[in-house]
């Protein structure tokens, strides 16, 4: 019988530390599949974030380095300028990319750095214990918005892709999700497009993946996927936000 489903070569044979139902494992697998399919495992340099995915290099079987919290796109800029023929991508959470690293992501995009950014948006700080993120929905309760996020004092969910779409240096922005098999496949297509954009020297791209954090959403894995489908996508609509590739 033909084997239809195996571990990608770019993924180490190792159990992850992620919570059951977490979206990181899915996102890891998808980008590893794309790297395998593009034959890029030996020419990839990834920049892991500070956050739940800080140990991504334990699971990825290609060169991976760390970056201080939020500085990920600056670090990637340095790598890519020195090694322009490598596939360089950052993997960032919403705390890393949308809070402490806001300046770095916007300016890397504005310079049109030939990079790919995989942005995993689950609306909370997972690693530090479920605190409010800039992307947290209004009305959502977190460790640091115990009375729920209120716009009067905590502002509004920050939509980085919509903010960045008018930057001329930015080539491709798409928001996807992993809440259903269809969306998972669509996410894989978007990652492949982002990487291809870079390999074709067509510039800066971000794929934002709406992802579940069952642990700090206080939901089980199935309910978490439901929440994305019914609530999260209302605030963060899925789709191509910019494509000038």
């Amino acid at each position: 019988m033909a084997k239809r489903f195996t571990r990608p070569e770019s993924m180490k044979d190792k159990a992850t530390h992620y919570c059951p139902g977490c979206g990181h494992g899915l996102a890891h697998r998808l980008l590893c599949e794309v790297i395998d399919e593009m034959g890029c495992r030996e020419t990839t340099v990834a920049i892991a974030p500070v956050g739940c995915a800080v140990l991504a290099y334990d699971y990825w079987d290609f060169d991976t380095m760390e970056a201080p919290h939020g500085r990920t796109p600056a670090v990637a800029t340095g790598v890519k300028r020195v090694l322009p023929d490598r596939l360089v991508f950052t993997y960032q959470g919403d705390g890393d990319l949308a809070a402490i690293g806001t300046a770095e992501i916007i300016h890397a995009g504005n310079r049109g750095e030939n990079l790919s950014v995989i942005f995993v948006n689950n609306g909370v700080y997972g690693m530090t214990g479920g605190q409010m993120a800039p992307t947290t929905l209004l009305g959502q309760r977190t460790a640091t918005s115990q009375f729920t996020r209120r716009s009067a004092t905590e502002g509004f969910p920050l939509k980085i892709l919509e903010m960045m779409k008018d930057l001329k240096g930015v080539s491709y922005l798409e928001r996807t999700s992993v809440h259903s098999p269809k969306e998972v496949l669509n996410t894989k297509r978007a990652i492949a497009k982002s990487f291809k954009t870079q390999l074709d020297n067509k510039g800066f791209s971000i794929v934002e993946i709406l992802s579940p954090c069952p642990t700090y959403w206080g939901l089980d894995p199935v309910e978490s996927m439901k929440r994305i489908e019914t609530e999260v996508v209302q605030e963060y609509p899925i789709g191509v936000i910019k494509d000038s590739v």
Binding site: R41, E42, T43, T44, V45, I47, V54, L55, Y57, W60, D61, F62, D63, T64, M65, E66, A67, P68, R71, A74, V75, A76, T77, G78, V79, K80, R81, V82, L83, R86, A103, E104, I106, H107, R111
Partner: protein, 350 residues
């Protein structure tokens, strides 16, 4: 063939980097180092290297982190407030064992301070500045020629020990013009292979550049490895200049720009009958404790002169181990100790 130029300290520093093979520079404007960033914007273009005017000092130092991890010789420069912002990245580079050269053209502080010259960042440069148990080699030039030569040297040191190296300069040294002699045939020195670099896992296992060590005892072991390296640097790389210290009754200790006034004061004092010598630390980390101890053994007075409230003074105290000999003269916030002031201070302690 040697060629003579007239150069500012800042531009000499930039040229030293270029001659050392630096092909990646990222920085952010701040006075009094602007001549350097402007110079690098031209020279990196000419040498087909990378110049990036970053969105902040934080971004600049982290661009270095990436470019260094990719195997390039890299430099950034700034002045005091901007160097404070770079401390995060410097700590990470020390932890990740990444070579880089960081130039601090010091200005007055604390806070925004002013844009004149100062040496108030000695503690920051030599005692940490960023978080964690790390050290970085800190070279303190005293003239334009040394701005060139020490920057050139810094790249080989950074690569040899896989560590950030700082050039600790100041606003006056950065902006003054002096003759500069460059050997036109000069080639980059101390080029090493970087098998640890992030280049893609071709023909080898995938690898990582990290400062995170979570395993039981792993971070302690990593720190012990770093400390071992720092001890080796202390033994092999401590540099200092001694001047007329044999049999001197008075030893002046000064680094960088101030050492020039101190030398002139020592000459005049000696001519006036007070035999005075100078110890000038060239590396302020590693600090020349032994040399200062030796030079001051028979001296009656050891005067530290700085453009600060007395920061290097603490290291001189440790070296001399006899507080009855110790005296200090410092100016702050843009004040520069003059030859006369130093002479007066020595005389008042006699």
């Amino acid at each position: 063939m040697k060629k003579k130029y007239l150069s500012t300290g800042n531009e000499a520093c930039g040229e030293g980097a270029v001659r050392a093979g630096c092909r990646f520079y990222a920085g952010y404007p701040i006075t009094p180092q602007n001549e350097l960033i402007a110079y690098m914007s031209v020279r990196m273009e000419e040498k087909k290297g990378t110049f990036i005017q970053a969105e902040s000092e934080l971004a600049a130092i982290n661009m270095l982190l990436g470019a260094s991890a990719a195997g390039a010789r890299v430099m950034t420069s700034s002045s005091s407030p901007g160097i404070s912002l770079k401390m995060e990245g410097i700590s990470y580079m020390a932890g990740c064992e990444l070579p880089a050269v960081i130039v601090n053209v010091m200005r007055g502080g604390p806070g925004l301070g002013n844009i004149s010259t100062a040496q108030g960042d000695y503690f920051q440069a030599t005692k940490g500045g960023g978080h964690g148990d790390y050290r970085m080699v800190v070279l303190a030039p005293a003239n334009v020629q040394e701005m060139f030569a020490f920057t050139y040297d810094a790249f080989a040191l950074a690569d040899r020990y896989r560590t950030p190296v700082m050039i600790l300069s100041d606003g006056m040294l950065g902006q003054m013009m002096e003759p500069l002699e460059i050997d036109e045939d000069m080639k980059p020195a101390g080029i090493v292979k970087k098998p640890w670099a992030m280049t893609g896992a071709k023909g080898r296992d995938a690898q990582r550049v990290v400062s995170l060590f979570l395993g039981d005892g792993a971070l302690e072991a990593h720190n012990e490895k770093l400390q071992k390296k720092y001890r080796e640097i202390e033994v092999k790389e401590t540099r200092c200049e001694t001047y007329n210290t044999d049999g001197a009754d008075v030893i002046i200790v000064a680094y960088g720009l101030v050492s020039r006034m101190a030398r002139a004061a020592a000459d005049r004092l000696t001519a006036e009958g007070i035999n005075t010598g100078l110890v000038r630390p060239i590396t302020v980390w590693p600090f020349p404790y032994e040399e200062i101890k030796r030079a001051s053994k028979d001296a009656l007075q050891v005067l530290t002169v700085e453009m600060s409230a007395g920061q290097m003074l603490e290291d001189v105290r440790l070296a001399v181990q006899d507080d009855s000999k110790i005296s200090f003269y410092g100016r702050m916030g843009g004040g520069v100790p003059t030859e006369e002031e130093i002479i007066e201070k020595v005389n008042s302690e006699q």
